[in-house]
Symmetry: C2
Subunit: 218 residues, 2 copies
DNA sequence: AAATAAATTTAGACAAAGCTAAAAATATGT
DNA sequence: ACATATTTTTAGCTTTGTCTAAATTTATTT
């Protein structure tokens, strides 16, 4: 399987889990920053290989085999991200590009040993779950911070938006995976919130709160 | 620069340091397991980019810029080999293939941090020197074991042949980088040698002795 | 020095992956 | 329901990197 094929499978996987079912050609093109005509070409090739179910004009979905392949790539991507952050001291906003390359290295042995070296992590530096060898991953209760009410508390376990500006914003205010957050107030008007973490009080916009995942305490 | 271009530069670099000066198209083809016509095509492209000096029918040599690029690839390859052996417990006969892929990952930051993580190694697991960021590497006195005479001693610092069968042979008899070796006898007839290392006596053929580098003690 | 052999290059094809522009199918608005 | 807009596909071209077969250049023999 080529790198490009792997990238398409990964893209289709992500799109078919955000929205549902069959994914539109245009959606893929936009997601992969390419042209719809190029997507069509690739879909035909992937269909040939039994990795996707594709009928022209009807969108596409991953076959079982395609989904397994996508999960393998995602596993590699996320394990490399953990490596970069834990072992090479990258910050969480710097890892994506490099992991995009590393995810295409072909060696079962390499990824198994990397997994062991990292002590079998379940989540990557953005809080996304890492599939195991069989493509299964640990679920955990995950809600947007914006859905909590004043008085509620939770632990930061991930981000929805993983763009560099957002991640750098979080770093700046000391918000990291594992941070204990309690909601002290919520503004009706603009849905901004007052939160407390590690001794300090912060005022955060709805924009921010709706891109942070927390595991609520009960 | 594409992966293929990088591979050619690396190949030309190795060939022009084993033999001398300008490298023949056929030699490159053989070394890279491809056809001479493909090599010609690539040489033209590399010449276009100012990475090699090439005149048709006359062979090819690296320009300053081409040599620098080749050294960067070699640096990455060897650093990754160290990583695989030191951190992921690969054995020295398993690392080459994977390093062939990893050497093409593009990120200055990655390779700098990997270098630091590995504590700036000077030599790879086969004893080959690792170029620094400026393409320079540490020299050290290096002789073939076969050139020592009875009574001489030395430390094993590298292999000439780094094929799996040879490396596995060395493992089997406990010969590793850093092993203290003393020559106890040398057979006129077939140039085989009796050596002593770590308490045991071994009889090794000329084949073996002429593929092991040692730093002689004086 | 001509004849032959070996090395190298050219010409023409092919596959992967992309693009643009035009055509076809599907969806939407009134 | 029909015209328009949107989406998707097709057709044809480009680049990278490879190949085979034929042509050409260089090297070696006798």
């Amino acid at each position: 399987m080529t790198q490009s094929e792997e990238n398409y499978l990964k893209g289709i996987y992500h799109l078919s889990h955000a929205g549902q079912q069959s994914v539109a050609t245009n959606a893929i093109a936009e997601h992969m920053e390419t042209k719809p005509s190029s997507v069509t070409d690739m879909l035909k090739r992937l269909a040939e290989k039994g990795l996707v179910d594709y009928q022209r004009y009807k969108g596409v979905s991953l076959t079982e085999s395609g989904a397994q392949s996508a999960l393998k790539v995602i596993r590699k991507h996320r394990l490399w991200e953990v490596f970069l952050v834990e072992k090479l001291d990258f910050s969480w906003d710097e890892v994506h590009e490099v992991a995009e390359q590393l995810e295409h290295i072909k060696s079962e042995q390499l990824i198994d040993r990397l997994d062991a070296h990292l002590d079998y992590p379940d989540f990557d530096p953005h809080g996304d779950p890492i599939p195991d060898k069989d493509g299964k991953f640990k679920a955990r209760e995950k809600r947007l911070l914006s859905s909590l009410r004043p008085g509620d508390t939770g632990v930061c376990i991930g981000v929805k938006d993983s763009s560099s500006p957002f991640l750098r914003f979080l770093d700046k205010y000391g918000i990291a995976l594992g941070s204990e957050i309690s909601v002290t107030a919520k503004e009706e008007f603009d849905d901004s919130m007052a939160i407390r973490l590690g001794g300090q009080d912060l005022q955060i916009s709805h924009q921010i709160a709706s891109n942070l995942f927390v595991k609520p305490n009960r």
